[in-house]
C-alpha cells in the first residue's frame, strides 16, 4: 500500500499539485473505485448466474438486451431504479427505510478488507480476518429489521429463520477460520496468502492440509448467504420472498445487490483462505513488473468465480433443506467436526514446527 501511496504522490508532484490534496484523495479514490467496481461485478455476477442457470435447465438464459444478453442486468437495475417505492401501511417507516441502507455498508467494508494483490488492500490491518468475520455477520441485523418493520408475517418468519440460521452457521465458520489462522500464524489476509506460497504452487495451499475445514467453510458460507439449499429465509414456495417481500424498487435492489455482493466477498475470502488468494497456481507468476499485480488480481478473481460457479451448480441441483434439519446439521455435524479440525491443525502445525 505504501508503495502505491508514494507512486501516487510522485505522480501528483509531477503536475505541481500539493501533497495535501494527494493525502486526502488517496483515501477517497479507493472508496469510489470499490463502489463502482462492486456494482459492475454484481451486475456481471447476476448475469453469470442467470446464464448458468439457463444452461443447467436447458434454456438460453437472458439473450435479448444487448449482444448475447449482456445488458440484461443493466436494464433490470435501471427498471428497479425507476420503480415506485411502496411502504406498506402499518410498517415502521423509519426502520423500514433504514434496513436497506444498513445492509449495504458491511458488504463494502468486507470487500475493502480483501487483498486483491500483494500490494493492494484498501484497508490493511494486522487483524484483517477478524474484522471480516465480525462485519460479515452484520447483514443479519438489517434483515431482522426489514422483517420486523415490514408488518408482514411472511417477512417476519423469514427474518426469524435467517437469524437462527446465521447463529448456527457462524460458529463453524469461526472455528474453521481459527484453524487457518493457526496454520498461517497470522490474522492478516495478505500474510495468510503469502504463507501459502511455495515453489510447488498448488501444493502449498491450505486446501490440502485443511481440506475438512474447506468443506465446512464452503457449506457454512452457502448457509450464511441464504443460497440454495439453505435458502429458507427467502424460500419462494413457502414465504413468497421472505424478508424482502414488501420491498420494491431501489430498496429491493439494495437487498438484491448486497446479497450478490456478499456472495462475491465470501467467495473471495474462501479463495484467500484456502486457495492461495492472489498466488499463481504454477508457483511463479507468468508476467513481470507492474503487470504482476494485475495477474495476481486475475488469479484471485478466477478462483472466486470458480467457487461461485460451484455454488450456482449446487443451486441448480439440490432442493431446499427442512428448517429443523438445517439447524441440526450445523449444531450436530458441522460444529464438532470444525472443532476437531482445529485440533488437527494445531497438531499438524506443532509437528511441522518441530521439523523446521
Amino acid at each position: 500500500m505504501n508503495y502505491l501511496y508514494f507512486l501516487y504522490i510522485e505522480f501528483l508532484a509531477k503536475y505541481n499539485i500539493p501533497q495535501l490534496f494527494g493525502d486526502i484523495t488517496f483515501f477517497v479514490i479507493p472508496c469510489v473505485i470499490i463502489f463502482v467496481a462492486l456494482l459492475l461485478v454484481i451486475l456481471a455476477l447476476v448475469l453469470f448466474e442467470r446464464k448458468l442457470l439457463g444452461w443447467f435447465t436447458q434454456r438460453k438464459g437472458p439473450n435479448r438486451v444487448g449482444f448475447w444478453g449482456l445488458l440484461q442486468t443493466v436494464a433490470d437495475a435501471f427498471k428497479l431504479l425507476c420503480k415506485e417505492n411502496v411502504t406498506p401501511t402499518g410498517a415502521d417507516r423509519f426502520l423500514f427505510n433504514l434496513a436497506p441502507i444498513l445492509i449495504f455498508i458491511p458488504v463494502m467494508i468486507c470487500l475493502g478488507l480483501i487483498p486483491f494483490s500483494s500490494e493492494f488492500t484498501f484497508m490493511n490491518f494486522q487483524t484483517n480476518l477478524l474484522i471480516y468475520i465480525v462485519i460479515a455477520t452484520m447483514p443479519v441485523l438489517s434483515i431482522l429489521l426489514a422483517g420486523w418493520a415490514s408488518n408482514n408475517k411472511y417477512s417476519l418468519i423469514g427474518a426469524m429463520r435467517n437469524v437462527a440460521q446465521i447463529l448456527a452457521y457462524e460458529l463453524p465458520i469461526a472455528f474453521t477460520v481459527l484453524s487457518v489462522i493457526v496454520l498461517a500464524s497470522s490474522m492478516n489476509l495478505t500474510q495468510i496468502t503469502l504463507a501459502q506460497s511455495s515453489k510447488l504452487g498448488v501444493l502449498g495451499w491450505f486446501c490440502i492440509p485443511c481440506f475438512i475445514g474447506l468443506v465446512i467453510m464452503f457449506i457454512s458460507t452457502i448457509a450464511e448467504l441464504n443460497r440454495c439449499p439453505f435458502d429458507l429465509p427467502e424460500a419462494e414456495s413457502e414465504l413468497i420472498c421472505g424478508y424482502n417481500t414488501e420491498y420494491s424498487g431501489m430498496r429491493f435492489a439494495l437487498f438484491y445487490l448486497s446479497e450478490y455482493g456478499m456472495l462475491f466477498a465470501n467467495s473471495l475470502l474462501i479463495s484467500v483462505l484456502f486457495f492461495g488468494g492472489f498466488l499463481s497456481p504454477f508457483g511463479k507468476y507468468l508476467t513481470s513488473g507492474v503487470l504482476i499485480y494485475f495477474e495476481q488480481a486475475f488469479w484471485l478473481f478466477l478462483k472466486s468465480f470458480l467457487i461461485i460457479f460451484i455454488m450456482i451448480w449446487i443451486r441448480a441441483t439440490l432442493p431446499r433443506m427442512a428448517s429443523f434439519d438445517l439447524l441440526k446439521f450445523s449444531w450436530v455435524v458441522l460444529l464438532p467436526v470444525s472443532i476437531l479440525n482445529l485440533f488437527l491443525m494445531v497438531i499438524l502445525k506443532y509437528i511441522g514446527g518441530l521439523h523446521v
Binding site: L53, F56, T57, Q58, R59, K153, Y154, I157, C228, P229, D231, L232, A235, E236, S237, E238, I240, R315, A316, T317, L318, P319, R320, M321, A322, S323, F324, D325
Partner: protein, 361 residues
C-alpha cells in the same frame, strides 16, 4: 407463545392456483388449517342444466386443465351408456392411448411442480421438456394443446396419425425417467424432506375418500382402470407402494409414468395393425337421453372421477354432478397438516397433487 394466523394464498407461489389456507401457527408449527376454496368456481354443474349435451362437451375439458381427456371421456361414456352406443375397438385403443399420454403429461407436470415446492428449480424444466413432446402431439392430432375436445359421442373427432411421434415420446421417456430417478429419488435432501412426512394411513385415506395414486401409495390396491371396460384387453399392474408418506407418493407417480407408457405401447401396437376407423356417430344436435339416472366413473390422474346425469328426456340434463378427486384431497388438508411445520406443510400439500379448477368446478 402467541398464535399467529397466517393466510396462505389465494395468491401464493406454491398453492398451484387459488387455494387459500387459513393456518394457525405457533412458531412454525401448524395448529389448525382451514382450506377456503371457490376462487375458481365457474358453475360447471349449473351451466350443464341450460346447455345441450353437445354444447356442454367442450367445457368439460376445463374441469381439469391438465387432464382434460379424462373428463371428456367421462362425459362421452355416460352419454354412450344412456344411448346404448357401442364404440369400436379402434376407437377404444385411440382413447386409451390419448388418456394414458395425458396421464403421463399430468404426472410429469406434478413432478416438476412438487420439486419446485421443495425448492429445486431444475427438474421443473426437465419435466416440461418431456411434457412438451406430448402436448405437441396432442396439438398435431386434436388441434389443441390442452383443452383438446377430441372425443365425441360414439367415437373420436378424427382418425389418428403420425404414430411414430408417440414412439418417439416413449423412447424419450424410457431414457429420461431414469435420469429423474438419479437426480431426485435418492437425493439425501429430497429424502429428508419427504421420507416419513405427511403420513396418510390407508384407513384415513379411505375414510376421507382419497383415491388414485395417493391411496395406492398408502398401500391399498384400488385402481378403477381394472374394472373399466375401456381398458379391457390391456395388460398393466397398478403401482402399489407401502410407504404411506410423501416420498412414496412421488415414487408411485414416477412408476405410474412407466406403467402408463407400457399401456400406450400396447395401444400403439394395436393401432399400427388396425385399418379404417369405424365409428358409431349420431347426430349430436338432437341428443336426448332417455329418462333415468346414469352414472359412470374413470380413474383420472388424481384419483376417481365420476359423472352422474339425471335426465328427464329433455335436450338438457335435469341434473349433472361431477365427482372430482382433488375436492377430497383439499378436505383432507384440514387433518393432515395439523402438527406439521410450515416447511413440511408445503411439501405435504404438494404431494397430494391438488389442482384447483377440479376442486371448484
Amino acid at each position: 407463545m402467541t398464535k399467529l394466523k397466517l393466510n396462505l394464498g389465494p395468491q401464493h407461489p406454491s398453492t398451484h392456483g387459488v387455494l387459500r389456507l387459513i393456518l394457525e401457527l405457533e412458531g412454525e408449527k401448524i395448529l389448525s388449517c382451514e382450506p377456503d376454496v371457490g376462487y375458481l368456481h365457474r358453475g360447471m354443474e349449473k351451466m350443464a342444466e341450460r346447455l345441450s349435451y353437445v354444447q356442454y362437451l367442450p367445457l368439460v375439458d376445463r374441469i381439469d386443465y391438465l387432464a382434460g381427456f379424462f373428463y371428456s371421456e367421462l362425459m362421452c361414456r355416460t352419454v354412450e351408456k344412456a344411448l346404448n352406443l357401442e364404440i369400436s375397438d379402434k376407437v377404444r385403443a385411440i382413447r386409451v392411448m390419448m388418456l394414458e399420454l395425458n396421464r403421463i403429461a399430468s404426472h410429469l407436470l406434478w413432478i416438476g411442480a412438487f420439486l419446485m415446492d421443495l425448492g429445486a428449480t431444475s427438474p421443473f424444466f426437465y419435466a416440461f421438456r418431456e411434457r412438451e413432446m406430448i402436448l405437441k402431439y396432442f396439438e398435431k392430432v386434436t388441434g389443441q394443446r390442452m383443452m383438446n375436445n377430441y372425443f365425441v359421442f360414439g367415437g373420436v373427432r378424427r382418425d389418428i396419425f403420425d404414430l411414430e411421434d408417440v414412439e418417439n415420446i416413449l423412447a424419450t421417456l424410457e431414457k429420461k425417467v431414469p435420469d429423474y430417478e438419479k437426480l431426485i429419488t435418492e437425493n439425501p435432501i429430497f429424502l429428508q424432506r419427504t421420507r416419513g412426512k405427511g403420513i396418510l394411513l390407508k384407513e384415513v385415506a379411505l375414510n376421507s375418500s382419497i383415491t388414485g395414486v395417493n391411496l395406492r401409495a398408502s398401500g391399498f390396491d384400488l385402481d378403477f382402470r381394472k374394472r373399466d371396460k375401456l381398458y379391457c384387453g390391456f395388460y398393466f399392474e397398478p403401482v402399489v407402494l407401502e410407504g404411506t408418506d410423501a416420498w412414496s407418493r412421488y415414487k408411485a407417480r414416477v412408476l405410474e409414468i412407466i406403467e402408463s407408457s407400457n399401456i400406450v405401447r400396447q395401444a400403439l401396437e394395436y393401432l399400427k395393425k388396425e385399418g379404417e376407423l369405424n365409428q358409431s356417430l349420431i347426430n349430436p344436435l338432437n341428443i336426448k337421453l332417455p329418462e333415468g339416472e346414469y352414472y359412470s366413473e374413470i380413474e383420472a390422474p388424481r384419483g376417481l372421477a365420476s359423472l352422474y346425469i339425471k335426465s328427464t328426456n329433455e335436450k338438457t340434463p335435469y341434473r349433472l354432478k361431477w365427482r372430482t378427486p382433488s375436492f377430497y384431497a383439499v378436505n383432507l388438508l384440514r387433518k393432515i397438516l395439523v402438527g406439521e411445520y410450515l416447511n413440511d406443510a408445503i411439501a405435504i400439500a404438494g404431494s397430494l397433487d391438488i389442482i384447483l379448477p377440479e376442486v371448484d368446478k
